[in-house]
């Protein structure tokens, strides 16, 4: 009967109830929708970063990340292959790379680059390069003196496909190795910095030029699905470390490889919850205001109830129950609206390329697919429900304070 009474009371003034409901619905919807946009953005940023040669997990020589020179390479290839194929789930792909700093030059220009020796077929499956060719052709394993470069690099070096490029770097004998390559293809990337920095040749050619034999600089591993919380990656990295059982190698996940990204993700999660709170504060004022209004209109009734012997606590319970119904309806409807609007745009994504051109240094992706996280939905719902009930205590206490005689003199 408390529930019946509360339910009927909220529909006594349908217009006011609908106004509160709208406030809750819009609030919850904005929490879910903006949360989904933000999570989509995060995922896309992580996806971009890890596909720009990072991968889910990498294996390096212990010293390589401090000092990425050719001497800090890994030579136990058989052992690595063994560990990779036994400890990773099927479907997980990896590729080996040689990665050193080099100097590129042609007749007009000289500049520092990162020379990446790749296994062309495997690499195409685990990093952005597989889908990034915009002109010319991609590399093959057998290519001898062929090279692919980024679009921005081409412009900076004022060169074009089929032109020559000289690469220089220190080899394992501490000699300067230098070799001429012919540009066969051009790739594009999310950012110009990437296009300028990386140039690709086949792994075999890199090893030969730098006198590395079988050694490599890194193994990059791509899990079949990105886990933005990094749990899956951490687990796989642990198993891999155990399988390799050699502390000259270091296995690291993208979270360890991209500490800034990790910090950014943590911060943006925190900001999302601040946003939730801000939305709630606006909504909370609306709830308090309207329910105070409703309560002053009904003060004779509260006086009557107290005269009949109702305890203040029971009156508080009644008012809070009314708010509870409003909040639950509002949260449900807000969720439905949030899910629907996210579903509607996640089909085609939101095109941010106009924005991304100006802001690529921030890593803003060109296309955004909103993503709803169960955790965010739960937090949004709980925040609204818990804080909503909490603020409704204020009008509830007011209602409970009317004394019967006060109220009856309003007759």
């Amino acid at each position: 009967m408390v529930a019946i009474l509360a339910w009927r009371n909220i529909w006594r003034n349908p217009r006011r109830t609908i106004v509160i409901l709208l406030a809750v619905i819009i609030g919850v919807w904005s929490m879910i929708f903006l949360g989904a946009l933000m999570r989509g953005m995060e995922t896309e940023m992580v996806r971009n970063s890890i596909s720009t040669l990072t991968g889910s997990i990498q294996i390096h020589h212990r010293e390589y990340r401090n000092d990425p020179v050719v001497e800090n390479c890994m030579d136990g290839i058989d052992k690595l292959n063994q560990a990779l194929s036994t400890s990773l789930d099927p479907g997980i792909l990896w590729a080996k790379r040689v990665r050193v700093n080099a100097i590129a030059s042609n007749a007009r220009h000289t500049g520092g680059v990162t020379l990446v020796g790749i296994e062309p077929e495997k690499e195409a499956k685990i990093s952005f390069i597989g889908k990034a060719m915009i002109s010319g052709r991609y590399l093959t394993t057998e290519d001898k003196n062929k090279i692919i470069v980024g679009r921005a690099f081409l412009k900076k070096f004022n060169t074009k496909i089929n032109n020559k490029l000289i690469l220089m770097s220190q080899d394992t004998q501490k000699e300067i190795a230098s070799k001429a390559f012919r540009i066969v293809g051009v790739f594009s990337a999310e950012s110009e910095a990437v296009e300028k920095q990386f140039i690709f040749i086949p792994l075999l050619q890199a090893a030969k030029m730098l006198k590395m034999g079988d050694s490599i600089s890194e193994v990059s591993i791509m899990l079949s699905r990105l886990d933005i919380t990094g749990k899956k990656e951490t687990l796989a990295a642990k198993r891999l470390t155990a399988a390799i059982a050699d502390d000259t190698y270091r296995v690291e996940t993208w979270q360890q490889l991209l500490p800034m990204m990790k910090a950014y993700l943590e911060m943006s999660g925190f900001f999302l919850y601040i946003w939730y709170f801000v939305v709630f504060v606006a909504m909370g004022f609306g709830i308090v205001n309207t329910s105070l209004m409703a309560i002053f209109e009904r003060m004779r009734e509260f006086g009557l109830m107290k005269a009949l012997g109702m305890r203040p606590f029971q009156i508080i319970k009644g008012v809070v129950t009314e708010t509870f119904f409003l909040l639950v309806i509002g949260i449900l409807a807000g969720n439905i609206l949030g899910f629907l609007s996210v579903a509607a745009i996640s089909k085609n994504g939101i095109d941010l390329s106009a924005l991304a051109a100006g802001a690529q240094m921030w890593g803003i992706p060109r296309k955004l697919y909103p993503e709803i996280w169960a955790q965010d939905v739960a937090v949004a719902g709980l925040v609204v429900l818990a804080l909503g009930l909490l603020v409704s205590l204020y009008p509830a206490f007011k209602a409970a304070r009317f004394t019967p005689t006060q109220a009856m003199r309003k007759n």
């Binding site: 009967m1 009474l5 009927r8 009734e301 009557l304 107290k306 009949l308 012997g309 005689t405 009856m408």
Partner: protein, 227 residues
């Protein structure tokens, strides 16, 4: 046996800087089963007295006892519990919770008293039948006439057999015929169920029905006659 006993009740209201004496020493003893009318001109203190007997207001001095409960020994929660279990109220207007139907209004106090659901329902039906509303169970107050609303209020007041029913001008908003009907019905409940009634009124016709007429003037009992 006294069911209500007040001794030398005094009550002064403060209105701004002026003191308004409302009751100036009222001694009243009402026995079980009485049907008492409080009469007196407007402002004489009838409502104040009823409110004090009902525990809605506290006197400045003097003592009140209802059904052997001394108000002086009780806190707000005890008073609320006493009102719930021992006292039925009928007010001049606005007696019913607007969103509840007639039968739900009657059931509601029993819910607060902790009466089980089926018993609640049966008793509410029976009492509404007694007050002649057998075909109006599910009407909301707004869909009932003033007289019918007051009958629901009386039904609610007596449904759980209180020690007394306090009614402050229960007929004031009704035409004389409807008022008479309500009074006859209250009288019937008084006779059949031995419910003690104390009600205030301005109306000479209403006073005719009283078994005892207590007249108040300027906060004092000036006449007390049993017929």
């Amino acid at each position: 046996m006294a069911i209500v006993e007040t001794k030398n009740i005094k009550k002064t209201y403060r209105q701004g800087k002026v003191n308004v004496p409302a009751l100036c020493g009222v001694d009243l003893i009402v026995d079980k089963g009485e049907f008492v009318a409080l009469a007196g001109p407007s402002g004489s203190g009838k409502t104040t007295l009823l409110n004090i007997i009902g525990g809605l207001d506290l006197p400045d001095s003097g003592s009140v006892m209802v059904d052997n409960n001394k108000f002086a020994d009780m806190n707000q929660a005890d008073l609320a519990s006493l009102r719930l279990h021992k006292i039925g109220f009928v007010f001049q207007a606005f007696n019913l919770i607007p969103v509840l139907s007639a039968i739900e209004n009657v059931e509601y106090v029993m819910l607060l008293q902790g009466v089980p659901q089926t018993e609640r329902h049966d008793r509410a039906k029976a009492i509404l039948d007694d007050v002649g509303l057998e075909d109006k169970y599910d009407r909301r107050p707004a869909e009932l006439s003033g007289g019918q609303q007051q009958r629901v209020a009386v039904a609610r007041a007596i449904v759980s057999g209180p020690a007394i029913v306090l009614a402050d001008e229960p007929t004031a908003n009704l035409d004389s015929k409807t008022g008479e009907g309500l009074l006859l019905m209250m009288k019937k409940m008084n006779k059949e169920k031995k419910v003690t009634f104390i009600f205030s009124t301005h109306d000479n016709m209403v006073m005719e029905y009283a078994g005892r007429l207590v007249t108040i003037r300027d906060g004092r009992i000036v006449n007390d006659e049993t017929k």
